[in-house]
Symmetry: C2
Subunit: 118 residues, 2 copies
């Protein structure tokens, strides 16, 4: 983790959200775990476009930020499972409403965002 040289001030609550959600795969990770795909191996297989290393790093960040809890089962073979903390769960409605906005405007947004969409 790095500190920004010119830090984002956190005066606005939205910045706090962006701060913890900042990371290419974090939404996918949260969503995946919310939907029960919670073990590292499963997650890696599901998000196979991402490098394992980055997923691990971002999972750690989500744990550090208090959104995920990492459960290490004391059993052999080793088993690890992530779950949402209360803070993480409280994010779900926010994610949903934000996702809804995206869906409602998908047509226009894709045109704008995608390379060929100019």
């Amino acid at each position: 983790m790095y500190q920004k040289k010119i830090p984002l001030t956190l005066e606005c609550g939205l910045h706090l959200f962006m701060q913890v959600m900042n990371g290419k795969w974090k939404i996918s990770l949260i969503w995946s775990i919310y939907n029960g795909i919670a073990r590292p191996g499963e997650i890696h297989r599901k998000l196979s476009d991402a490098s394992r290393r980055v997923l691990d790093t971002q999972l750690n960040q989500l744990v550090d930020h208090g959104l995920l809890l990492k459960k290490v089962y004391d059993q052999r073979p080793l088993k690890v499972e992530y779950e949402l903390t209360e803070l993480g769960k409280s994010l779900i409605p926010v994610i949903k409403s934000t996702a809804r906005w995206g869906e409602e405007n998908r047509a226009v947004l894709e045109k704008k965002i995608l390379p060929n969409g100019g």
Copy 2:
């Protein structure tokens, strides 16, 4: 603007949101304009922590993404004003609910996010 080498799939509406909001100062820009601080000079002065160059770039991206409209008045001296498009306005409730989440969890989030907050 760059294309990601490993592009984020946009299957989830939240990704669309993150895509257009991705940029260190974009939320501040949207918020500023929503609150009537809409001229480049004003914006630069208000967000004086950010480099003018980056603010300009991100304003352009917001225009490209259809969230802002740039109005150039045909008058001397030159006057420019940004305003939210319908798409941009539709983002306001989303931003607000997201900001609310941040505020409600500010105490715990700041502890987690800030460097000294371990």
